[in-house]
């Protein structure tokens, strides 16, 4: 026994089984959504309701009062999906009348503009100003990487990898991520989403050329397997290299340690040194972003701020790397690096990170300079992308003039 629902279609009552009623409701709701923005939306919906009513009427008779589920499905299938824009026909039709309808232009004015004004709001994404937003669709965590990828017009995976890479630098990637997740607003409204991805043609061009270059390089390989094999070998070699380099360093320091038994004392000194250097580095970065000068020393006029920030980052990696190595070597020489040490590294890393995030949180609250630095961050970021894009475009123009 099925439940029956009575509905009113075009002024007449019809009885539908419950499933059929649901299907009909979904169909009409979809139709209404598709026709959103169409000036004749209500009229078309009414037309459709009446057409459905007429089909139902054909199905019913003296001894049949209820439209069954499968009959509703069949009727809806016969109606077909609502095409919001049969306007595909618009261009051929208008271009087909180069001479004919010119004289009646006066009469068409109002209706013509009404037609084009309908889809206007949705189609006007031409010149949206770009802003950094978090994009939660397809996001892994809070959409920071996703938003940055949309902003920079690159693959989100690349941004995520960059953050993971930065996380190895004393957790700075993670810290930056947390700060961005708090500071950067989420794109909620359609306008904000458009602004988040707002793609000027130059940026799209940028991506297109980058892709083409990649595919050109890939084409050199005869087939997919060869390419895969090459990628695997490359990665393996990189890993082996890194490992060898690391172990050489550690052995070197370990040997030093056996010669100088007092190295156990060096450990806290090195740790303190690293902590101090981190603090100095962060201060330098903040002062650069806030005032454009590194701890009172101004950048040369023609060097943009983002280049300064990049240089600071490289400097940090160059100095912090060896310090970290030395510290590890100390551990190594003290305890010959038993498995237990890796747990200690983990605890130390997490603790350092928590302290840093907490410090940053406090600093943002109580230090106006830092707030200003964060405030300037999007501008610096924007300038960097624009500079890189300009450079890239110059490259593109050069390569265009080269014979292929």
């Amino acid at each position: 026994m099925n439940k029956v629902i009575t509905i009113n279609l075009g002024g007449n009552a019809y009885q539908l089984e419950e499933g059929g009623y649901d299907a009909l409701r979904v169909y009409l709701e979809t139709a209404a959504t598709r026709l959103a923005g169409n000036p004749d939306q209500e009229e078309i919906l009414l037309d459709i309701e009446w057409a459905i009513a007429e089909k139902f009427r054909g199905l019913l008779g003296n001894h049949k009062n209820v439209v069954a589920n499968r009959e509703v499905s069949a009727v809806l299938a016969a109606m077909g999906p609502i095409e919001a824009e049969p306007g595909k026909t618009e261009n051929p039709a208008t271009s087909a009348t180069p001479s004919g309808s010119r004289t009646s232009g006066a009469g068409t004015g109002p209706s013509g503009t009404a037609g084009t004004a309908g889809p206007g709001p949705t189609g006007s994404s031409g010149a949206t100003p770009k802003r950094l937003y978090r994009i939660s669709e397809d996001a892994m965590i809070a959409g920071v990487c996703n938003g940055m990828a949309a902003y920079l017009q690159v693959d989100p995976t690349l941004v995520r990898l960059a953050f993971v890479f930065l996380t190895f630098l004393w957790g700075s990637g993670l810290a930056v991520y947390v700060v961005l997740a708090i500071v950067v607003p989420e794109a909620r409204s359609p306008e904000e989403k458009a602004a988040a991805t707002g793609a000027p043609s130059t940026a799209q061009d940028f991506i297109r050329r980058a892709r083409e270059g990649y595919y050109e390089a890939i084409k050199g390989f005869p087939d997919r397997q060869a390419r895969r094999a090459w990628q695997r070998r490359f990665k393996r070699e990189m890993r082996v290299n890194a490992h060898q380099w690391r172990s050489q360093w550690q052995h070197y320091w370990a040997e030093q340690a056996t010669r100088h038994p007092g190295i156990g004392l060096a450990l806290p000194v090195i740790s303190l040194l690293q902590g101090a250097f981190n603090v100095i580095w962060i201060c330098a970065l903040v002062s650069l972003l806030a005032t454009g000068a590194v701890l009172g020393v101004a950048l040369p006029v023609n060097v943009p701020v983002w280049v300064g920030a990049l240089l600071l980052l490289i400097l940090y990696a160059a100095v912090a790397g060896p310090i970290k190595m030395a510290r590890r070597a100390c551990y190594w020489s003290i305890g010959q690096l038993k498995p237990g040490w890796s747990l200690w590294f983990l605890v130390e890393g997490v603790a350092g990170l928590v302290v840093m995030v907490a410090l940053m949180g406090l600093a943002i609250h109580y230090c106006p300079v830092l707030r200003e630095a964060l405030h300037n961050l999007p501008t610096v970021f924007h300038q960097a992308t624009e500079d890189v894009q300009a450079w890239w475009q110059a490259q593109g123009k050069e390569s265009l003039t080269l014979p292929k």
Partner: protein
């Protein structure tokens, strides 16, 4: 793009012209138009036709009047406006022109093959 899709694009482009042609013959209501299209390459569903008809009316190509039906709700009978006729005429001419060009080019090819 497959051949079928290309044909689909051509059909979509011509549908408005075909509908104009059908309405030009006599006053019809939507189900009549669908029935006449049903046996042709232009077989169409309500979901496509109603939005198209309303767009054409908005452009001033056609108009409708209500008529009571023996059974069920009243129906909209569509007819062409002067502008609609004018556009149909112009489209027909243009169509013939295109047709002639295609034929002419095809003949050229046939002649070369012989």
């Amino acid at each position: 793009m497959s051949v079928n899709e290309k044909f689909g694009a051509i059909r979509n482009g011509l549908l408005e012209f075909i509908v104009l042609q059908i309405i030009a013959v006599e006053k019809v209501y939507a189900a009549d138009i669908l029935k006449q299209l049903g046996n042709t390459e232009f077989a169409t569903q309500e979901g496509t036709l109603y939005p198209l008809l309303s767009k054409m009316r908005r452009e001033g190509l056609l108009d409708y009047e209500w008529k009571e039906s023996e059974a069920g709700p009243p129906r909209k009978y569509y007819e062409l406006t002067a502008k609609g006729r004018e556009q149909l005429q112009a489209t027909l001419e243009y169509w013939n022109q295109i047709n002639a060009t295609v034929k002419q080019l095809a003949q050229k090819q046939n002649a070369e093959e012989l």
